[in-house]
Amino acid sequence: MAEYRDLQDLLFGYAAGELPPALSILVASHLTLAPESRQEVERLEAVGGAMLEGLDAVTSPMDMSASLAAVLDRLDDPEPDAAPPATSDRGDPALPQPLRQRLGMKLSEIPWRRVGPLGEYRLDDAEGNETIRLLRIPAGRAMPAHTHVGTEATLVLRGGFSDASGHYGRGDLAVVDEATNHQPVADPDEDCICLAVSTGHVRLTGALGRMLNPFIKF
């Protein structure tokens, strides 16, 4: 599943474990800020569990007992790596952990690159044709009108913006595809800071395609 047209697609991709890394940062950050989406992911994971139940592998008991014996033997082995890293205290406490950890600095410390009226800061997690970046739209300003090749998912981290589809505040995630010509306008009271992931052009999936992705640049 490599087409993410809306929020539901992204939540499904996250629950099924199929999102590329940049989108998983975006969605995990959104989930931190959006309890309803978190609940939806829990439901989708429950469906995944029910589907796992249905995956009834044809296995002989003999086959499984060798496997079980091997695992029982290892139960007392020391755990190879300890628990996952504790919540990072570096970075900006206002940022969700998945992004805070990745960014490692405060929003006020970001070396914004000016692109027209916008500030842009690229994170380098993108694989293939994805880009992941922070965007700053000055208060009350409009982003230049644009369309997308592929889709762009935008998570509001501070402030808010409006476009033809409505208003988006902190924690909201907007997904637009190439059919949409959208022109987000930042709320008048403060700069709007967003995390945006674009998936453009061709992204190959499947075992072979994934190996080829690093070699294909458009």
Partner: protein, 214 residues
């Protein structure tokens, strides 16, 4: 044998739900026991490192996790090794399992899914941190009771069983296979929109089943 389902006899009053969607061929014994029993086994593992309880969980979930990893593209031998690692994680993290939050099948699904991303796709997966100070809590935090959770799981499993095969197939492929919806559509000889609407219909039915109050 170490992992015969002795629990079934103790819980004769609990109806045994057959949780199948493909061909269930696990000999004479029922392939699925109601989840509360798995939750009891998890508790036994967490509280007293009960190896017998673990063995029963292994007998049920081991083959399923392995089938899941094979379906996600792992060669058989790799899937076997990864499945063993998943089950070791179940043993080591048993204390983190909370039966009020999820069914055992859900919890093990998430561990297997993360293993698939890390080891088969070799990608890093950003995870939600439940202890994040930035976490926005739900507006009304009414946790399910144990009974409600167990019943929701039962309803969900029954609803999966009742799905029309055409929806189930799309659901299965969407959860398990490394394929885009367009590929699924091409394989099934269907328009993309039909694939997406089948997935949506299936999820709506299952969501409704989970939320229905007794």
């Amino acid at each position: 044998m170490l992992y015969q389902p002795a629990v079934a006899a103790e819980n004769a009053s609990v109806p045994v739900v057959l949780l199948s969607m493909g061909n269930v061929t696990q000999g004479k014994r029922p392939s699925g026991r109601p989840d509360p029993q798995f939750a009891d086994l998890m508790d036994a593992v967490a509280r007293s490192q009960d190896r017998d309880a673990f063995s029963r969980l292994f007998a049920h979930f081991g083959p399923r996790v392995r089938a899941y990893l094979i379906r996600a593209g792992a060669p058989v031998q790799t899937a076997e090794e990864l499945m063993q690692e998943v089950m070791l994680t179940v043993w080591r993290r048993a204390a983190l399992f909370d039966r009020r939050k999820a069914a055992v099948s859900t919890w093990i699904f998430t561990i297997a899914r993360n293993k698939r991303v890390d080891s088969i796709r070799r990608e890093s997966r950003a995870e939600l941190d439940p202890n994040d100070p930035a976490l926005v809590p739900p507006a009304d935090e009414t946790a399910d009771t144990l009974v409600e959770r167990a019943q929701a799981t039962k309803r969900l499993n029954a609803a999966v069983k009742d799905l029309p095969e055409e929806q189930l197939e799309v659901l299965r492929r969407s959860y398990f296979d490394e394929e885009s919806h367009s590929t699924i559509a091409a394989d099934l000889g269907l328009p993309l929109g039909t694939v997406k609407s089948r997935l949506r219909l299936a999820l709506n039915r299952l969501r409704a089943a989970m939320e229905e109050k007794a």
